[in-house]
Structure formats: structure tokens, C-alpha cells
């Protein structure tokens, strides 16, 4: 199945893009996808940042199963205002 991973702020700069379209196995969880991203060399620049996750704009935990077409956003600590 295909999902879109969305990056913001430091992650966007580290990956040089605001999104990736990934093909992942059916039943994949948020954690599975994040684990695969950790293998990338660019990850080292952001590995110390705490992350939260949102699927289709709703906060979820790392064990959440993904569905075809989902948008998975990786959220570093927010700092608006």
C-alpha cells in the first residue's frame, strides 16, 4: 500500500523535502515506517529530536496501523505563537 510521510521544520530541512511517497506492506505500523526512515543517513541530524505522530491530521501512537493512502506526519515539538 502507498502512504505519504510528511516532514516539517528540522525534518524537512534534513530530508530536503516536505514529503515522501512510500510503498509499505499491508499492516505496517507508524513505528515500522519510522524504523525504516532511521536507516537513512540524513536521520542522524535529527535523531535526538522527540517525535509525535499524526495520521490524517489526528495524533496517534507509534503502534497505530496504517492504511492505504494515509498521511503520516512526523511532528517535532511545536513552537507556535
Amino acid at each position: 500500500m502507498k502512504i505519504t510521510v510528511l516532514y516539517f521544520a528540522q525534518l524537512k530541512e534534513a530530508f530536503g523535502s516536505d514529503r515522501d511517497l512510500l510503498d509499505v506492506p499491508a499492516g505496517a505500523t507508524v513505528d515500522d515506517v519510522v524504523a525504516s526512515l532511521r536507516d537513512r543517513t540524513e536521520w542522524s541530524a535529527v535523531s535526538s529530536l522527540p517525535l509525535r505522530y499524526a495520521v490524517n491530521e489526528r495524533i496517534v501512537d507509534a503502534g497505530t496501523k496504517l492504511g492505504d493512502g494515509d498521511r503520516l506526519a512526523l511532528l517535532t515539538p511545536i513552537s507556535g505563537g
Binding site: 521544520a9 511545536i78 513552537s79 507556535g80 505563537g81
Partner: protein, 132 residues
Amino acid sequence: MISEQPIDMSELLAAAANNQSGAVVVFAGVVRADENDGRRVVLIHYDCYHLMASREMDNLVDEIQTASGVHSIRAVHRVGDVAAGEISLGVVVTAGHREAAYEASRKVVDEIKHRVPIWKKEVYDDGSFKWL
């Protein structure tokens, strides 16, 4: 509301005008030209997850308006590059009395900082930057 345009507080205030509210509280969050380690902030770049940020802004405004009983709440967060001295966040609350208006205004700002997916990067006068 999320906007890439400069925030016009007089426009926000005019939109809230009515003859039933005895209190109108106006809050403007402004980018400070702080100095950090000998570098001065010239602008803040705000990155944003637009879809989620718009939804969260609407939700928190609805929640606070319902819970507080104020007459109206208008909140706009600017994203993109905001220069020192410019407004990054505008909030206007109308209510029957000032206590409720002050409290709701403070809560809106607090909740935006905690819930809305917006990130800021300070850009300094020597060209360097730092995500906060």
C-alpha cells in the same frame, strides 16, 4: 485561521464590532529583536502543517468559546517569514464583561502554543538560524 499575509489588527477588531459586548480584548504577539550569543533576531520563519493547524485552531476556538461563554473569538496565526516588530499572532475576544474576555484570550494563546502544529526558526543578523 492560518495566514501567510500580514495580520491587520484593525480589520480583526472591526470584524468583531457589535453593541452587545461590554469587553473587547485584543492580543498581538510580536516577533522580538532578541539578542542571542551576540546575534540579533531579524525574523522568525514559521513552518506549519496547514491542514492540521487550521483544524486545531478552529477546534480550540470553538472549545474555548463554548466553555467560556464569550461572545466571539477571532484568532489568526501568521506563517512564513515574519520580521522583528511584525505581528505573528492576533487574537480578538468579545464578551459581556472583561474577566471572561481576558481569560479566554489568555487560554487561546496558551492552547495555540500547545496544540497547533507550527514551528519557528529564528534567523539572525549574521545569516545563521536556530529552530526553537
